[in-house]
Amino acid sequence: MANHAAHADDHAHDDHDHKPEGFLDRWLFTTNHKDIGTLYLVFAFTMAIIGAGMSVVIRTELAAPGLQHVQPYFFNQMTTLHALVMIFGAIMPAFVGLANWMIPLQIGAPDMALPRMNNWSFWIMPFAFLMLLGTLFMPGGGPAGGWTMYPPLALQGGASVAFMVFAIHMMGISSIMGAINIIATILNLRAPGVDLLKMPLFTWSWLITAFLLIAVMPVLAGAVTMLLTDKFFGTSFFNAAGGGDPVMFQHIFWFFGHPEVYIMILPAFGIVSEIIPTFSRKPLFGYQAMVYAIASIAFLSFIVWAHHMFTVGMPLGGELFFMYSTMLIAIPTGVKVFNWVSTMWKGSLTFETPMLWAIGFVVLFTIGGFSGLMLAIVPADFQYHDTYFVVAHFHYVLVTGALFSIIAAIYYWWPKWTGRMVNETWGKVHFWWTIVFVNLTFFPQHFLGLAGMPRRIPDYNVAFADWNLVSSIGAFGMFVTPWMMIAIFAMSKKKGAVASQRPWEGAHGLEWEVPSPAPHHTFTTPPVIKPGMLAHGDVSH
């Protein structure tokens, strides 16, 4: 900052940004969508490293059978907090950060519709996680009943239950405000000529995700509030002794939880649908089909929740309904995968780093999708339920799915954010390193799960030792990647090649019509849309 002020005169000619001066004014009181996007991304990255540290604790303990490094109760705190931190602290804020940065740029808006609320929705997050992670340092430790918080187990924790519930309330409020902001921005602030069915797919995927968020985050708030009153105010919503039903919690939780998993993957679909056409130098195949596929996945996500709880003793009719409705999701998802492949078909492909991550996403996310289909089969699920097969499945969709797409997006839009290119060689090293170690980590977990190793345990039968060691080696290799990423992007920021306004040859869309780096204020007057400016401007299929 000081440096910036000292050279203010030099910048006066080329920089009409009017960025606020001091550090607090710039970041704490900011209402600028780009700054808030950056804050979200930095926060998500920090949380991802904390969550990854927890997974290293987990994998260190699991590297060999027997208890060697941590006690079971602490191990359970690690699995619980790893999930909560990664879901609510890393993946979701990273997508919100990307939305903040890119949606106004993609639709030609000067900023988000409600900038002050935007500031508030970010600044709640650090406090929510301070509360959640603070429980680790309190007597009794952090929550240890699993991130799904099933009663009665979750209620057996001490004060951490209350802290977890209030942290989730705050994250929920933050997500809801973020979602409302995104909906208002997309519906009201599109530049003339950016019709709904001409919007980029990232914006489309976020519009639908935002509706999912406002529909289900309050349901989670309701569920955890009932947990709170059961624990501290003597109600019996989920207490069998008082006439309640613990299974009802699972229904309410997964009514939130299943749409939640699509909240974490629909923006990923949007990102990949931006990157693949760019590096294939072809318009996206089946643009409208892609939009409708996202919408139908979002709709189906509301009627499949009980497939997470096939083993609770549901009536046969219920099991059949949830099995078939779950399998139905494979159809719109298949449409998307085939459309990405068709976009690449006969394209002039080049394999810059963002494209590698996007292709990695398509291949590995599809593996995660297929293991999801296996889990959807009721009789098979009775065998797979709560085993490492489930762990392998959701890490394929969340790490090689959601996280890969976030990394792809950072590589893709980084030149626009900073005006600097990323070193391609190091980007490729990062990608191939990750591909090797992510598969080493999670692929053996399929075998462990099929062989019957349960999840959420610190010790296991010696029969599982070999694949667990392989998985742990993979996890240690993965833990190198965040530091590698910091080095790569710090190097680019310092001395990367200067990026042009359109650093990727095949890139279309309004974000490439502003200079790189994007000035502090863009589209203060709505852009005039010329033919060919929008990626999907003349698409009628």
Binding site: I180, N188, T225, A240, G318
Partner: protein
Amino acid sequence: MSADEQKKNWRVVKIALIVCVASFLFGFRVMPPIYRIACEHIFGIKYENKVADGAKVAAFKEDDARLVEVQFIGTVNSALKWTFAPEVFSIKVHPGVLTEAWFDASNLAPDAIVGNAVPSIAPNRASLYFNKTECFCFTEQTLKAGESRRMPVRFVVDPKLPTDIKQLTLSYTFYNNEIATKRLAAQGAESKPSS
């Protein structure tokens, strides 16, 4: 931002907030009753634990041709220092016949404890056809320190029980009714000094 744009934004915010409040109330106030309705009317699982309608039970005709095995299980929640078990583990009954089964409970703790038994029937679609005319699970059970008690359950299996169900299991879990136990302890403490 123009006043017109602000008006448009606030309209979206208002609608979105209404959606949020509605979905909170949906999760908090509507899902529990829906769950109950779905259990009882779609999946045929009896949710209420109460005395069967006498007129309905009286109208049952005994089905001599059919025998259904009823198994009993008694479990005690870990927070309750009692023993609790059925006297017989299984009996064969004709649907439509009033039958009696006995359970034994003993309090191993040094204090009086109030317990509540929560019943469950498997397979759960049989629960609509299982009628209890009397059960220790309808009321709180108070056992003094060291006290034991024989407790009856009287039931009739509805002759309309689907024919493929040949065996059903009635299981009870006894829980410590902590609120009632505390109340009891407080009464005891009050009455002691006066006596």
